[in-house]
């Protein structure tokens, strides 16, 4: 039995948990959030991705209640949350610095929010124990935050913010302080916990791999605007702009002019004396319009013999980046343009076919890349 896909954003009937309506936030002259409209649905794991200063943290702080929008409204389950102070919102936040109370034990840290709600004592005990189990921290309940490791602190912060069963959990760069290996493990833990608790998660991150791994949808932000919101695979395979294509993963960008159309095939002239690139697109391009052709390195194949079909470009290997599992070849085309091509190293290095200065053929099918207007 196939699992039903979780795609509430495609359901016109679905009610969003969070609705941003034309929200603008200014700090003096600086516009942090620029006329932004977005919906976030229940049980989503929504990632805000962007370079530092793109407004993603401001967006999150507005949800938590530490900032109020200059213009526009934010609705939480249909209610305008602007007048609700942070301590009255059904929203909890996991801070980048974790913000664990150093004078309280792990147990007391997790119980902190529950106690403020005046929950009966044995309910607090049950809930804290449940959170400790969920985050595998039972053994550390009596310790103080400085007596545990960074990864454990991260889990305490998560447990504390989940303890009150928020409708919405905000995670501000939650894994930023962890080393790479621990980060990858923790990403799966986060997804697991999100599924178990059925909470809506909004995560802020500048790490695109992290956003791609954990999120059901990713919003790529730049200069206070959302450039594209989509599922990780859609963002990767069909970015809507060169900004998104370039921000997510590695990409070859070739600028050219549209020269002719044949069905959904578009021909692009991109350099004098070079064969035209043919790509598939549904967008209308007029002849002579500037087109950006974006193709991922792993979709470019590299061969010694001239392939028979598709787009074929001759070039010379300039550089090889050996990464263990894959190798990235930097190939210089006749016009001086450098194209990256990636291959999996499923053979041993000693049997590699190419080396520096080899003349090679690059090829890709006409559906491998995307054609972008900007």
């Amino acid at each position: 039995m196939a699992l039903d896909a979780f795609v509430p954003w495609e359901d016109p009937e679905a009610k969003p948990v969070i609705h941003f309506q034309n929200v603008t936030k200014r700090f003096g002259d600086f516009t942090a959030i620029d006329d932004l409209t977005i919906d976030i649905y229940e049980k989503e794991f929504f990632a805000l991705l962007g370079p530092s200063g793109c407004g993603k943290t401001t967006l999150m702080r507005m949800l938590a209640g530490f900032e109020t929008p200059t213009e526009g409204t934010i609705l939480l389950q249909g209610q305008d949350i602007a007048p609700v102070p942070p301590n009255k919102r059904a929203v909890n936040m996991m801070f980048q610095s974790y913000a664990l109370f150093p004078h309280l034990s792990i147990w007391e840290n997790i119980a902190f929010g529950l106690r403020r709600d005046g929950m009966p004592k044995h309910d607090i005990n049950d809930r804290v124990d449940e959170m400790l189990r969920l985050t595998r921290l039972e053994a550390f309940a009596r310790r103080k935050p400085h007596q545990i490791s960074g990864g454990q602190r991260q889990r305490v912060a998560l447990a504390r913010s989940l303890a009150k069963r928020p409708k919405l959990l905000l995670l501000d760069e939650p894994l930023g302080a962890l080393d790479k290996k621990l980060r990858q493990e923790t990403q799966f833990e986060l997804m697991d916990i999100q599924e178990k608790t059925d909470t809506t998660f909004v995560i802020v991150t500048h790490d695109q791999e992290e956003a791609m791994t954990v999120a059901s949808r990713v919003a790529v932000m730049d200069h206070g605007k959302i450039i594209q919101v989509s599922t990780p695979d859609a963002i990767y395979e069909t970015p809507n702009s060169t900004y998104v294509a370039d921000f997510i993963g590695d990409v070859n960008l070739i600028e050219g002019k549209a020269t002719g159309r044949d069905g959904d095939k578009l021909k692009i002239a991109w350099a004098e004396g070079q064969p035209e690139i043919v790509g598939s697109t549904t967008t209308d391009f007029t002849n002579g319009q500037t087109v950006h052709f974006a193709i991922r390195p792993e979709k470019v194949s590299i061969s010694a013999e001239k392939p028979e079909s598709g787009n074929i470009l001759p070039g010379k290997i300039l550089d090889i980046a050996y990464l263990g599992n894959i190798s990235t070849y930097h190939v210089e085309l006749a016009g001086g343009q450098i194209i990256k091509a990636q291959t999996a190293n499923n053979r041993r290095l000693s049997r590699r076919t190419f080396t520096w200065e080899d003349n090679v053929w690059l090829s890709f099918t006409d559906t491998a890349g995307v054609l972008l207007e900007r």
Partner: protein, 296 residues
């Protein structure tokens, strides 16, 4: 060898500057007053050898300490000093905490200036500053002139030569000792802790009590001791600003030494004062050590 040397230096320092003077004072407190120079007896006669040594010790007794318990002036003075020191410590805390809090919250570029302003009064002699308070608090002083000119009072308030003036003087003098440790503990505090507390359901006010105050606890304790200990033995402020009714052990001590020239009794007063002070200091250090142990 190096280790022993390193440890020996501070111990020798303490021995020379604390233990030896203390033993001298303690010895005087066991002596009898005499009309001589020095004004007490016995003195150790080295020329008499062992016999002199024996007679020296046989003349020492606890008479003066017993005397202190018989005359209620002394224990009243101790109690009154404790009361004044405790009250003024609390007052200094009430004044100092908001100042330290404001400094810690001030923009980064202002903090150095503010710290400077807190320390600035130390550049003037302590005595001059206390004297100038006499000018402010006296019946024709600036404070009364100001209050009368704005019509708040019609008759001058009598502040100088009362306990109120002593409190004002102590709070004013020891305020920096309260502000600095509290400031340093507040300054280290991560702002996001307060946001986290709010996020978890605290109002601003409860966040202050549940997060800010516990985190400033070490600073508050240190500041309170730095004010309480010198305030207990304070002599200059009560004798200049206080009235004849202001009873403080520092003043009694001074009078015993210089007015009565009764060095042995004065020394006994000093020894008791030291014992009173040693107890809270030891308690304080125990507490600090425990804190360190639990924090690992």
């Amino acid at each position: 060898m190096r280790r022993i040397f390193l440890i020996a230096v501070p111990y020798l320092w303490l021995l020379a500057l604390f233990l030896v003077p203390f033993l001298i004072v303690f010895k005087i407190s066991l002596s009898d007053t005499a009309l001589a120079i020095p004004p007490y007896t016995p003195t150790l006669d080295f020329a008499a050898g062992w016999e002199g040594f024996k007679s020296f010790f046989s003349e020492l007794d606890f008479e003066n300490f017993i005397f202190l318990t018989e005359d209620d002036l002394y224990w009243k003075a101790y109690l009154s000093s404790l009361k004044i020191a405790l009250t003024s410590t609390i007052l200094t805390l009430l004044v100092g905490f908001p100042i330290a809090y404001g400094m810690a919250k001030a923009p980064q570029e202002w903090r150095a200036t503010l710290l400077m302003l807190v320390i600035l009064p130390f550049w003037t002699s302590f005595l001059i500053r206390v004297y100038s308070w006499m000018g402010i608090l006296s019946q024709e002083g600036y404070l009364n002139q100001l209050l009368m000119s704005i019509g708040l009072i019609s008759e001058p308030l009598i502040i100088l030569n009362t306990n109120i003036a002593v409190y004002i003087g102590i709070v004013y003098t020891y305020l920096p000792f309260m502000i600095l440790p509290i400031y340093s503990s507040l300054e280290k505090m991560d702002e996001s802790l307060l946001e986290a507390a709010e996020d978890l359901g605290c109002s601003r006010f409860t966040a202050f009590w549940l997060v800010t105050v516990p985190l400033a606890k070490q600073g508050i304790i240190a500041g309170s001791f730095l004010v309480f200990i010198p305030a207990l033995g304070e002599f200059v402020i009560p004798s200049l600003l206080g009235g004849s009714k202001t009873l403080m052990i520092g003043k009694v001590l001074w009078e015993e030494f210089f007015s009565n020239r009764d060095w042995p009794v004065a020394s006994a007063v000093a020894v008791i004062l030291l014992l009173i002070l040693v107890i809270p200091i030891i308690l304080f250090q125990r507490n600090e050590q425990k804190q360190r142990e639990t924090e690992g």
